[in-house]
Symmetry: C2
Subunit: 658 residues, 2 copies
């Protein structure tokens, strides 16, 4: 069976009204906007200089390097997104722009294959001297991902060849041999990228190099200390008096060998990028120890450290995990990029395990945090995705410095916008998983996918308007009958799914969350899947104190929230009675086409007269107030205001004497 | 009428079992311990070097300055505490130690009167060049307070003369005249100290200098900018790349003239020290505009930014205020020193206004945050006084970096321990306020106070075991009858006080919180005040979201809390039913003699089986669990554990459909 981690995006066409709109947004707004940003043509945005850096390194322009040490990766992510768009439809102008950038990159590549504008322009003598802090391998990884994607999209090898030369160079520098460095990246990414490069080229050295990086990580003597001493104890961040990235090895998941780690720790994006690579490697190399580490660390993340929105990384400090059951709603980090990385980790776990629990989390991250990272018009972005905001207090309390109440246009550290673009443009790759035993249907995304398996070729056509509508249909388009197994996912939120084939009910008995349908399929066969989407009240684990006495609403894969625009200020005064009914209604204005939830509710407001504290806690005035919930991914599209996902549960038995 | 802000502590002897114990602790444990610490004789504590700095500056020892830029103030605060102890009882050895230190200070004073060891030893050319950041006037202020206190305690002028020479020097350097600096301290303190010095010496220049500092503050062109430019834009904190103290003028309450300020802002200790001085100045100079500013800023602080424990400063960043109704329980700062400063501000407001609302807050701060700042055995201290702690998550989440789950022995920045010592040692000064219209009884502290007013001399003897017992008696000891007005405070928490004079009921009709008893008093007269102390459920203002749906318990002036030691972990699962009864019980072990509160309670704990989130929020299992509350000031005396002041209100009408 051919590996389809990098499912050829030529072969899937997304037709879902929900997703086609997003992909059009990426094509028409996000990618063009980012092109302008990368070229510094947007007056009111923070400067990028990313293209200029490459042009200067290529000798095409005079000037100095400017930007973050990983500024190069913004260009790579843009190229990767362009590649995915080109798979969807031809676009001569876009392709020409990309080709021109690729020529600049090629010209900037040094004779030995090395390619990084920060080091080429600012510190040529310091190459590979500070892996803990300096993102050289991270940028290489993004470049490799772009090179693979662009090759697969266009068949053009120009960028892929640049990547291979660079990878060959890296393969010479790093390794267990004499004179080679024993290092590995402070920010993982190159591991998963090398495995993609390996799969695209068939070059086994790239797999071995990825394995080296993974297995070297966290061993003693510690490489970060070794290189720290070797370079004279300097830190890239010296101007700020900080070498904490060197000292705090858990920040980079380098405090212990991965197979010995027990908890999801450190910078959340680093963690999921790393684990995506490890999971891929575990599968390609059939390594059970690594597989167990992937399962163990996944479980710790998902069962103890993940927000209901699929966000991870509970604190601004180090954009990192904190500890079990510590998920503050208002000071959350929950970076958009971390949820994208979580999807990447999940998709590798799906290939490894064929278990829907990974798809459940992938879907949760996608429909909530990842989508919330971008405004509905595609022009503004969140880095940080809190579950509760009160703008009036955010200016005064520095605990919220990293949290923004409204999305921003561009960032000095612009990792999230291009990452959201490449994720949305490549969404098709997450819909299905090809495994020996079955074709797994992970996501319900209206689409036509050309599938080749078990000697057959067929098109699997998904109908429906998920996530709004309950009915999904899968139609078989083929020239002839064929036998194969389709594994249809029953989402974890769906208690009573109904399945029918050609109108005949089929008992839906999932195995690891998928109903395996093994039969001879005929052209025109239709699988109808009804996924009833009642509004669900979500409760939390008893140790999650930030959700104690509260509920969140979910319908289908969408988590909902209250916003000030609909419900007024002081959202903490609102409560949802245990017996409240729910009514769906369609939004309007910027929320047109979105399904909102209306319910009875209460506003519990003690008298405002008097001071902060009142003796013999007077019975609070309780007024009925209807509540209107909007999908979390739609929040903050109507100006600045309060927002809250977890809502007080009123009159719940949980609050009564037993 | 003689001003009694600095009530002669010789004339009040505290007999209260509660407070005599604390004063003995200060005498026998805290002050001796601090003496050892200041002399670096405690092996397991962070070094102080404060005495050594003075000895080096005096030429008595070789060495370099070590410590914070305000290290000198630790010695001054110790001397001030010693002075108060010497008022209570003679102690030849202690007095000799103090006299020796004073000789060192005098020897360290420079010929022109200047006295500051940091600048003398490290940067003699930089005197008065960085008022925004460098604490020279702050240290001077603490020295003046010590000088006044020691003079009043012992009659010895040695330190007072040192202070006057230094104050005269400062008076020459600063002022509106030609060649004088227009500056004022980044950390207020010298204002209130100069007013004490003025009252002790009768020197009006010290009052005028205080007025200059107060009125200059926040004017344009801004002095912090002027001196910043003048010294070449350097920052004391340059090694950390920070000049934020210069830029963030609200941090020092220097963003606008004080009379124009509308909200309590910036570093909380700075704010209350400053306002104590302003209130004192407003009274001495009869300045109505300053009085209005004092009232307005007091109200903003107390009605919108003060914890129920009398803590102020809701964030670790800048140890500062945040904004209205933002009082997070777990990431609070609520510095011990800020509550001490709050008491100082309150005592000045009492003199200015004769209004018990200031005494109510003073008492709240004293019995809760200030006392909580020290362990029951007097050996360990809190800087930060949170209202909720969960030690298991504090290591992982850097939002809690400033919060400690257990008290520490000494601090690099050792402001709080000596500040608590001097406050407790001088508690007698807060018990009464002498005003023209009456002798105000602010605090119920068993004591004998010799009072002189309206031509009479008498002793007012307080009986009782406040804050545990409800009955307070005031007995008149005198040689002859005399007429005067006693104003007896009815605490805000007491709904049904009963007052009797010599066994005869008197109607208790308070005016501004005090019952004014004007009569001819005879020797042996007894005022009996019954202050019923039911356990009160405190509710919060509807905008205080951190207390929404929660209650706190208070009995008398004491706020209570739940601790893990009595109630197990996961305190967020505990709830107090609306109809729960309360029973008092005496503590044991380290809590012997303390009144605890037992009540019915609930533990609301959803099943631990399953992941973080559960669909259709299963009815949580609710078990009855008796709750045991301990006084907040006693918390963290039994090892590390969870603590919580605000407790979920279960089954309250507030949570029901109206």
């Amino acid at each position: 069976m051919s590996d389809t981690q990098d499912l050829d995006l030529h072969r899937i066409r997304i037709t879902s009204p929900f997703w086609a709109q997003y992909q059009a947004l990426v094509r028409d707004v996000v990618v063009p906007y980012q092109w302008q940003a990368l070229n510094d043509r947007i007056p009111d945005a923070e400067p990028s200089h990313a293209i200029a850096n490459f042009r200067i390194a290529a000798g095409l322009e005079q000037g100095d390097f400017f930007g973050m040490i990983f500024q190069d990766s913004d260009v790579a992510k843009w190229l990767e997104a362009v590649a995915y768009l080109l798979c969807q439809q031809a676009d001569t102008e876009l392709e020409r722009a990309a080709d021109e950038v690729i020529e600049v990159l090629a010209a900037a590549q040094q004779p030995d294959g090395y390619l990084n504008t920060y080091f080429a322009l600012k510190a040529p003598q310091e190459r590979w001297s500070n892996l803990a802090e300096c993102h050289e391998l991270y940028c290489a990884g993004h470049l490799f991902e772009a090179g693979v994607a662009y090759f697969q999209a266009t068949g053009k090898r120009r960028l892929l060849d640049v990547c291979c030369r660079f990878a060959d160079h890296i393969d010479g520098v790093f390794g267990p041999g004499p004179g080679q460095l024993r290092g590995y990246p402070g920010h993982p990414e190159v591991e998963l990228a090398l495995l993609r490069l390996h799969e695209a080229t068939g070059e086994s050295r790239y797999l071995e190099l990825a394995r080296f990086f993974v297995e070297q990580r966290g061993t003693q003597p510690h490489y970060y200390d070794v290189e720290f001493e070797k370079r004279g104890r300097t830190s890239y961040w010296d101007s700020h008096g900080r070498d904490w990235m060197v000292r705090d090895k858990a920040y980079s998941q380098a405090h212990a060998p991965i197979v010995e780690q027990r908890t999801a720790t450190g910078h959340a994006v680093r963690f999921v990028y790393l684990m995506a690579g490890v999971a891929h490697l575990a599968r390609l190399s059939g390594d059970e120890t690594k597989r167990q580490a992937c399962l163990r660390l996944w479980d710790d993340m998902v069962e103890r450290q993940m927000y209901i929105t699929g966000g991870i990384g509970a604190q601004g400090w180090g954009e990192s995990f904190t500890s079990a059951y510590d998920l503050p709603n208002d000071s959350a980090y929950a970076e958009s990029c971390a949820s994208i990385g979580l999807m990447m980790y999940a998709s590798r776990m799906l290939q490894l395990e064929g278990d829907a629990r990974f798809a459940d989390v992938m879907e949760r991250a996608l429909y909530n945090t990842v989508l919330a990272g971008m405004s509905l018009d595609g022009t503004r972005f969140f880095y940080v995705n809190p579950l509760q905001t009160v703008p009036s207090i955010m200016g005064g309390n520095h605990v919220y410095d990293h949290v923004k109440p409204v999305r921003q246009r561009w960032f000095t550290c612009a990792c999230c916008p291009p990452n959201i673009a490449r994720l949305l443009a490549s969404l098709g790759a997450y819909v299905y998983t090809q495994r020996d035993d079955a074709l797994y249907v992970n996501l319900y995304v209206g689409s036509d996918a050309e599938i080749r398996r078990d000697g057959a070729r067929f098109t699997l056509r998904q109908h429906g308007d998920y996530p709004w509508q309950e009915r999904v249909e899968l139609e078989i388009l083929a020239d002839a009958p064929f036998a194969t197994t389709l594994a249809v996912r029953i989402p974890d939120w769906c208690a009573r799914p109904r399945l029918a084939i050609n109108g005949e009910s089929v008992e839906a008995v999932p195995r690891k969350g998928y109903v395996h349908l093994q039969r001879e399929w005929r052209p025109g066969d239709r699988i109808a899947l009804d996924l009833p989407m009642p509004v669900l009240r979500i409760g939390a684990h008893p140790s999650l104190r930030h959700a104690a006495g509260k509920v969140a609403l979910q319908r289908g894969p969408l988590v909902y929230c209250l916003e000030q625009a609909d419900n007024g200020t002081d959202l903490h005064q609102l409560a949802l009675p245990a017996n409240a009914g729910f009514e769906l209604q369609e939004g309007n204005g910027v929320l047109a086409g979105k399904t909102l939830i209306r319910s009875e509710g209460l506003r519990v407001a003690p008298d405002t007269a008097g001071g902060l504290y009142r003796y013999d806690a007077p019975e609070a005035a309780v007024q009925r107030q209807p509540l209107l919930f909007v999908p979390y991914f739609c929040w903050a599209n109507r100006g600045e205001g309060e927002m809250r996902v977890w809502v007080d549960a009123a009159g719940s038995g949980a609050r009564h004497v037993a």
